[in-house]
């Protein structure tokens, strides 16, 4: 069961996002209102440290647990998919104040309503794949 380590990382992620209030609807609202530095500080510091971390991956200074170079899969390119998809995602994020990670963390808090949101998320994914050949990417 080497997957246990991923449960442990998930537990840590759930605790960190709960304690830093990232999963609170209010914090997301406040972010989009530009009324607090909190969320910008979290995402900003994670990205700045991430850039430094990835530069070590690319140089090969930090290797993976097998001693191999860590490769980062590039994101799929496409202006329409990222700008339109991103905007649709943002509308949902602004409305429910939770992106996919926080949805599952909120489930752990016993927030019943989030089951409907997760169900909606699954429907959205099905819907995307059903019509993706008609969408600009």
């Amino acid at each position: 069961m080497k997957n246990i380590r991923f449960i442990v990382l998930g537990i840590l992620f759930g605790i960190v996002l709960s304690k830093a209030e990232v999963i609170s609807w209010y914090r997301i609202y406040e972010m989009f209102k530009f009324q607090s530095f909190h969320m910008y500080g979290i995402i900003g510091s994670a990205v700045v440290l991430g850039i430094i971390l990835f530069s070590f991956f690319k140089k090969g200074t930090i290797k993976n647990y097998l001693g191999e170079k860590i490769m980062i899969e590039p994101k799929e390119k496409g202006f329409y998919r990222t700008i339109i998809g991103g905007t649709i995602f943002g509308l949902g994020w602004g409305l429910i104040g939770a992106c996919p990670g926080p949805m599952f963390i909120l489930l752990g808090r016993g927030v019943l309503s989030i089951l409907i949101v997760i169900f909606g998320g699954l429907l959205g994914v099905l819907f995307y794949h059903a019509i993706k050949h008609k969408l600009p990417h």
Binding site: F6, I7, V8, L9, G10, I11, L12, F13, G14, I15, V16, L17, K19, A20, E21, I23, Y26, Y29, E30, F32, K33, Y40, I42, G44, A46, V47, G50, I51, F54, K75, E76, I83, G85, T87, I88, G90, L91, G92, G94, L95, P100, G101, M103, F104, I105, L107, G108, G110, S113, I114, V117, F119, G120, G121, L122, V125, L126, F127, Y128, H129
Partner: protein
């Protein structure tokens, strides 16, 4: 010890997220939550509806374990690490919210106006929950990632598609927060 029970500041939260991302890459994986939604669909038999979902979801089992962990983590933080559920909001935010119909903002962790039982059992409230979910699910897969895959991993890797996606996240979030939310509540 008191520190653990209080809300954690951004300079603890942000670096911890990078640390978790480091371990995921160190163990040969990646940091991306929204692809789990596809795995769950595939696991639930969506392959019968669309050929895309016939992929072998078992290879993503590690990521499903990760989100099971997040559920447990949410439970632990809620039950044992957060004696005070209030969110210390900017007074401006509280008054803005009160203007659009959200009472007692920040007294609880989440607004009852969206997550409360009464909202859940109303047509409007249930519609908001399901539509928000559809937007997040649809948008994240169309864009090729969510906050973890684009905003954290993609920006850390200095990827242009991720920068465009994050700009999109903000366009959508700002339209919702400034224009649509006041109409809904």
């Amino acid at each position: 010890m008191d520190f653990i029970l209080e809300p954690w500041p951004w300079y603890i939260g942000g670096p911890f997220i990078t640390l978790i991302m480091f371990f995921l890459f160190y163990y040969g994986k990646k940091f991306g939550i929204s692809s789990n939604l596809e795995s769950i669909c595939a696991m639930g038999g969506a392959g019968k509806l669309h050929e895309f979902f016939t992929f072998d979801w078992k290879k993503n089992r590690w990521n499903l374990m990760f989100i099971i962990g997040t559920v447990i983590g949410g439970f632990i933080a809620f039950k044992f690490m957060t004696p005070d559920q209030a969110i210390a909001l900017n007074p401006e935010t509280i008054s803005d919210l009160s203007e659009i119909g959200f009472q007692n903002a920040g007294v609880q962790y989440l607004p009852d106006e969206i997550f409360g039982l009464e909202a859940l059992l109303s047509i409007k409230g249930a519609a908001i929950l399901i539509i928000a979910g559809i937007l997040v699910g649809f948008g994240s897969r169309y864009a090729g990632g969510c906050t973890s895959g684009h905003a954290i991993t993609g920006l850390s890797n200095l990827e242009l598609p991720s920068l465009i996606a994050v700009i999109g996240f903000f366009i959508g979030g700002l339209i919702m927060t400034w224009l649509i939310l006041p109409l809904l509540f």
